[in-house]
């Protein structure tokens, strides 16, 4: 999943460019299509309904990755 902030930054840049510059229709259409796609992906990301919670256990040897998902009941 592309980073949400990058997605939104690009989308904002597209809107600004489309609003401020005198573009060929071709180019404008390309930007528009990209914008619509990014908007779709951003909305999809926002639609994620449930917070994922992972617990990094107290084991000193467990190095880098979060190692197990935790359900709300584990709290």
């Amino acid at each position: 999943m592309a980073e949400f902030s990058k997605q939104l930054e690009r989308l904002e840049a597209i809107v600004r460019k489309l609003e401020s510059e005198d573009l060929d229709l071709d180019e404008a259409l390309k930007l528009f299509e990209e914008g619509v796609e990014r908007l779709r992906v951003a909305r999809e990301q926002l639609a994620q309904a449930e917070l994922k919670v992972k617990k990094v256990l107290e084991v000193e040897s467990s190095p880098s990755a979060p190692d197990r998902p935790v359900s709300p009941a584990d709290r």
Partner: protein, 391 residues
Amino acid sequence: MGQPLTEGPGPGAGLDLFAAASTEGAWTVGEVTRRARAVIEAGLPPLWVRGEITGFKAWRSGHWYFSLRDKSAQIRCVMFAKQNYMLPVPVDGMQVFVFAKPSVYEEKGDFQLTVSELLSTDRDGLWKLAFEKAKASLMKDGLLDPARKRALPLFPRRIAVVTSPDGAVLRDIQSVVGRRWPVAELIVVPAQVQGAKAEASVCSALNRIRRLPVDVLIVGRGGGSIEDLWAFNSERVARAVAAMPMPVISAIGHETDVTLCDLVADYRAPTPSAAAEAATPDRAEVLAHCGVLGQRLARALRIASRHVVERLARTGDRLARCMDYRLETSGARLTAYGARLDALSPLKVLARGYSVARDDQGTVLKSVAQLPSGKEFRLRVTDGEVNGRVQ
């Protein structure tokens, strides 16, 4: 008898006593106080002194004058305005620690302490002393510099939390993040936040997070006594927090207890919930923002394509006009052809009085041979058909 005078009046000089006290032999008051001051300043570096305040007086200049005493002795103290301006005014009888430079005030010949820090021991004084020492050390290394504070990420993907795994702190954070920004992933790194092992446990939790791809870290601990919060006042924990590669939000104790961890963190939140809010955007707002962007996108495209659409419209008009003209001329020609076809039509011939005879097959009967006596036929005239028979 007597000894030659080399430096100042010697003890037990008999007849030379008077000579020793002569203008040449005696020290001036200024010389002796200056010398005493040099000796004291060289022999007693700045130090922490504990005692009870007595004779406190704040001058209009803002300077404080008082004495520190214990059961057996007392020392005069001065604390200048530029050192004391942030402090609450102490009162006589208060037990304090002062950090001070022993010296001699030459004009009065007084042995005194020039105080640069003053802490009350009355409440949590010892903790405070340790705190101030650690704070001074952090400050010396620039770790409390406001310029070090990093901005929090707007849209965090991973939020790490160092806290007690079963406390209200985690519950609060989880609920706020779940409501505002479930897009993120919450990475919980449990730590002991109280007791003898707390310092080591928090440091090890921080160490583990250091290597994780985390956008922002919350260090949280519920309220408690200053002793309970001790781990978050440890210089070791503070330095570990300061060294984290990602922005750190600190939510330790109640709002009134400022810990070292709070001071080195990039953001200090009054409560764990507030920390979670600071770490996250509100999804509803972000969605609304996306909606606005979508509208702007569509509008911008409309504007960007306006010229083309206008051109298309103009071209369409021309095309239509062109077609109209073509159709008109074609229409006229059709009418002409129609008239000519009309003239050739057999119906016209019939109208002029001719008729056509056909047999029951529809074959046109053109010659006598086709019309033997008794042959039945149908005769087409201009306004219909009639049956006939050859006689």
